[in-house]
Symmetry: C2
Subunit: 435 residues, 2 copies
């Protein structure tokens, strides 16, 4: 993709390599911006104290570092080519993360930087999207990333304009969203956050890699993902995911618990539908130690009446215990979601992801984002799993979550280019602990 | 080591496998305790809602799981022997963490569980120490660990009694400490936290593995480590560490920044002395790209006057930016500290750790915990690096931090068995951001 010109509106923008931390008044952004995009070479900048900004240039002392294309005292460059050759590293990838100052990101970014997600031979550039309000906090996160000395983390940039931050992104992890305020309905939240995801979709469409993989975490994540993909017509719709992996993980834990086995014995768990209380954790297709769950757990009442509730109320229980939402395990589930796309799925198993329904083999309405069972060859892509079974109980619940997603889609018609919105959501289906 | 008997005071204690989360009133602890230590086999229990406690036993469905030695509905057992055989895993290790409900632990525990620290073939048991006040929050952390489905995490237990939680611990990561309150002097903090570390030392001495490795993070960490080791005479003194790795990491970043190189080019950085403002980040022995720092950074004034200050004020800057202390990068530095002990140190390099000074080759007073350059063969042990150089500037600063540690030792004489305390600490040397 062509690099976007440094047109005037770009020069006013706020993408900063994480460099000079000082004097970030709006007036100084234009200069800083030009400073720091110098030469567009991979680089990382440690942060500076205010009095360092006008310090004389550091002596160039390292044969491998080229500073000729770059100015600005601490705009550190390095020769990634040499690193790739000597360390057998892969080509660096660009990973954009929104909501970078939040607690989920605070866990996730360090996992990304450590190599836990993309592997020990994959250098990465992190592009952190914050807001006006959170900008300083994002700087704080970037400082902690510096102090962590992760060898694979080659570039950190921060900004508040998605058109800047998403530039050339190969992964976009969209975590940031407004939380639901007091008295706010799901419809209000759909509108407020929908605006954000519409803009981020347009930004991805304009500047991201043409094959960017997008994982939407901010709620209501299914419909946010739909809005996002509708605003990014030049990116394949199948590249957009809504995160239902935490629900899957919780479902596996609850099944393990009930069956009295360790959680690694549970497989083939699908979360169908919406990331809301209408979601359907599927015990019909799930397996324990290779056997159908229903053969292992002889308690239909529990499976039909309690299991789903246990999965769903987990977040609320955590808030009660812990006083905070489940940032750490959410970050783990994002890691799982990415790893499921960049590693081959184990034979016979699958994972859940909220994906675009066009062409699905399950009879689910087209043109929504619905969590379904997926497999990957590890190339970042996935295919839907054809060989799943249905019964009336499962079908009925799938219809309900499908109806909700269709209603949510009508609610955001003004954001997806389908015309006016018509909002008739019948009830509050936010998951406990995510409000 | 012999397993401690279930004497009456044990039966009253609060070590809980992370199992039934319900009705944890003091009255119920005795039963729960006996319940959950059933058979002392490796096991993990998912948490339960109150109404699950009296549910009928789950059907035993898994050939490898033995429930005969264990009762309690969801006290899940598994056959680690089979796991070891089929997955080529190592013997499980016990890792105890204090301050388990705090933010540093919230980062660290997930790193430990993921395999990032001890490796992908090392199953671990986490033993989490909280306080009366934080107990529910620790349960929340344990719930998030469950939902993370880490295959290597085979056991999670939580409690508030170090004599329980440290049982058979092979690593003890002592993070919990009281923060300094308003108007509190370092001497007050030494006393308050010293009491905690004296008790934890006695507990380690009584119940931990005879070769437990202890990393003290809670401040003032050097003298806390000294108190701890003095109260654990049956554990080798050289097994106790005070964490100065975050200081080392920050020093490396600042040197990289000044030299205009990527941080992975900086090596051989020692933090000498106390984890306080008297600490000595050593630029005399440090190297950049294999060359002495002084040959690379031709700015003696910066090295002598600014470098140390930059390292030390980093925490305070972060608080200002981020509004929180540096939990994430502290957790990373604990990971680094452990990895430095369980992996061979790269040839020619070293790492810093606050360790017991007896027998040191640098002329530092004996019988204190002083950060020094260490190397490891990767067996959990270390040796001090003999070939370092000193000049007057370095010696003079080392004397100052040594004097402080000697004064701190006098302050805690009542906790180390050396008689009465005499406290004459001259000034406030808490690091910014750690107050």
């Amino acid at each position: 993709m062509a690099v976007t010109d440094l047109s005037p509106n770009y020069a006013q923008s706020r993408l900063l390599k994480h460099g000079p931390a000082s004097s970030r008044s709006p007036a100084s952004y234009a200069n800083r911006f030009v400073d720091l995009r110098c030469g567009r070479r991979p680089r990382v900048c440690c942060s500076l104290a205010p009095d360092q900004v006008k310090a004389p240039p550091a002596p160039v002392t390292n044969g491998t570092a080229s500073k000729t294309e770059c100015y600005g005292v601490f705009c550190v460059t390095y020769d990634l080519k040499a690193e790739e050759e000597t360390k057998s590293w892969k080509r660096m990838i660009n990973v954009a993360v929104s909501g970078a100052a939040g607690m989920i990101s605070n866990h996730l970014l360090f996992k990304l930087a450590s190599g836990e997600v993309f592997g020990p031979d994959q250098p990465i550039a992190l592009k952190l999207l914050g807001s006006e309000k959170s900008f300083q906090a994002v700087e704080g996160v970037a400082m902690e990333l510096e102090d962590s000395l992760y060898p694979l983390l080659r570039e950190v940039s921060i900004g508040i304009d998605p058109y800047e931050v998403f530039q050339d992104a190969e992964w976009a992890l969209l975590i940031g969203a407004k939380p639901r305020g007091p008295g706010m309905e799901r419809a209000d939240l759909l509108d407020i956050n929908g605006q954000i995801f519409a803009e981020q979709g347009r930004a991805l469409n304009a500047v991201a890699s043409r094959n960017v993989k997008v994982i939407v975490v901010g709620n209501p994540c299914n419909t946010n993902a739909l809005i996002c993909l509708k605003n990014a017509p030049n990116i394949p719709a199948k590249n957009f995911h809504a995160l239902t992996r935490l629900d899957e993980n919780r479902a596996k834990c609850q099944l393990a618990l009930k069956a009295g086995v360790f959680y690694d014995k549970v497989s083939n768990v699908t979360i169908w539908g919406n990331h809301s209380t209408t979601q359907v954790p599927d015990f019909l297709n799930a397996k324990i130690d290779g056997k159908p769950v229903k053969e292992v757990i002889n308690d239909t009442k529990w499976l039909e009446e309690e299991f789903t509730e246990r999965v769903q109320k987990r977040g609320g229980e955590l808030i009660k215990k812990w006083g905070r939402s489940s940032a750490a395990s959410t970050a783990v589930s994002i890691v799982d979601a990415i790893k499921s796309l960049v590693n081959p799925t184990p034979k016979g198993d699958w994972f859940s992801s909220g994906v675009y329904t066009n062409g699905n083999p399950y009879g689910i309405s087209e043109d929504i984002v619905f969590s379904m069972p997926c497999r990957s060859e590890g190339n970042g892509d996935y295919e839907l799993v054809p060989d799943v079974i249905f019964d009336d109980f499962l079908r009925e619940r799938m219809k309900k979550t499908e109806a909700e997603l269709l209603a949510e889609r009508r609610c955001v018609g003004h954001l997806t280019g389908e015309g006016n919105a018509y909002c008739d959501l019948p009830e509050d289906t936010m998951l406990p602990g995510e409000q």
